[in-house]
Subunit: 279 residues, 2 copies
């Protein structure tokens, strides 16, 4: 196998993958090579552009650490994340829709009791969040594990702040025996995704804004149900129709109602899909 | 733009790129998004696989530093590098063929006079390398700048060794007024590409060997000529037909002849393409 040309190199690479033991890995890598090569061929990628691509990915890798995930941000802004979510969450009507996971979840968020304030000092207007977690049949899901995380009034997640203030505006709660939940936090605000790195450079070079409409992140887990990863978006936000990461579902938009004392209330009921139920 | 589905999200992402000022960037990013999405759709990428991809790229980024370029290694092993080289180096017959740049070039290699030993203590059997640099019309290219780099007898480039022995088995020379060059180095040996990182894991998972046939890297620059990036491969090497990075050209294979004193001699004449000559 010498003297490969632009016309036969793809087949040569695929032949080299022929002995891959895992059939799914073989399928995925084979398709990846075909599409990667087709991309390079379609645009007739120059050597300089190839090197710019290497440098771009290197920057993405080097800015990524345990608090910043620029590869997820890249996938999000190219629509790959939402495409993957859409392909894998074709749930029965009535289930709460999924959206992107995003780059800001952390594994070890603190646990809270129902009614507590997850803000933990994060700046923002106080807000009460409440609702129920039910299964598709309408049954309550007692004790459902509810992970919530959000940006503060300045548009920053705790992990974006240096100085070690610890976990703020994120936590884990458990629904009541009736599947009900309520907790205090702060009002969600629109914010720009981190745009001081290579993904930000890509957005600027393509004249795209970096804003996401205001939202709360939720991940809900319960035995016997599929894990739900979603947001609740704030109705009226200017960026609902131009989310930088393409994640908005109309069914996830809720009213955040201003109360007489200046605080806010948002109510949202989640419906989770029984495990193995399919679409 | 809400409620995007797997069927319309690609168009929505492309629409978001519509205002990209640079037409070439627009073309490249548009094609990239189309192929990236087509890949995800073709294999119906799962969310777990998506996350494995994020983790893989993160590892590639984190192992990459100023001495190790795992993204280039990834591109090389997926055949993307050689495809790019093939598309961009369709030179006139008679010109020396190009091959992959590889991840081991460094910018600040030491300069040597003709006849000197670039090995600088790198372990290996002594070898004399000589030949000429000529233009396509047969004219010598006086003073052509010759960058050479290679692995040592243990299959390691200097930058792969810790401990700071500095530059070994690499250097920059200038051809004579007649376009002739000669320098001493060490015998090139087959070696495995670095396989202790994520690219190595990919090779193992696909049952591919990591070996490259023995070769010397060359980059030749001269005013009025296209820069030539290539290798000279060692005839008889067991890996000439299964190079892990798909880089072998038959025209680049040379005999490394053992001399009576146990050292080796390899002779190779380069022919560079006048700038702007095209194919």
């Amino acid at each position: 196998m010498r003297n490969l040309t632009q016309d036969n190199i793809t087949q040569a690479v695929l032949a080299r993958l022929a002995d891959t033991p895992d059939p799914r890995l073989k399928e995925v890598v084979t398709s990846l090579v075909q599409h990667l090569h087709a991309f390079a061929r379609d645009v007739k990628l120059t050597e300089q552009e190839w090197f710019q691509g290497i440098e771009f990915l290197t920057r993405v890798g080097h800015i990524t650490d345990d608090k910043r995930q620029e590869f997820i941000l890249l996938s999000d802004t190219l629509g790959l994340s939402m495409l993957t979510v859409a392909m894998n969450n074709d749930k029965p009507a009535g289930c709460t829709e999924s959206t992107v996971f995003g780059p800001f979840y952390v594994e070890d968020a603190p646990h809270f009791d129902l009614g507590e304030d997850v803000a933990n000092g994060a700046p923002g207007i106080p807000c009460l969040v409440r609702g129920t977690v039910r299964g598709l049949g309408g049954e309550p899901v007692p004790g459902a594990e509810i992970h919530v995380w959000q940006a503060d009034a300045e548009g920053k997640y705790d992990v974006q702040r240096t100085g070690g203030d610890g976990h703020r505006a994120r936590g884990v709660l458990h629904a009541s025996g009736k599947g009900e939940y309520h907790f205090r936090s702060i009002l969600a605000e629109a914010y720009p995704i981190p745009d001081d790195g290579p993904v930000g450079d890509m957005l600027k070079a393509t004249k795209r804004h970096p804003w996401r409409p205001a939202h709360l992140h939720f991940m809900i887990k319960a035995p016997g149900y599929e894990t739900l990863i979603t947001h609740v978006f704030r109705n009226g936000d200017a960026y609902l129709d131009s989310d930088a990461v393409f994640g908005v579902r109309q069914s996830l938009v809720a009213d955040w109602v201003k109360q007489p004392d200046g605080t806010y209330l948002v109510e949202y009921d989640f419906v989770v899909n029984p495990a193995g139920a399919g679409a």
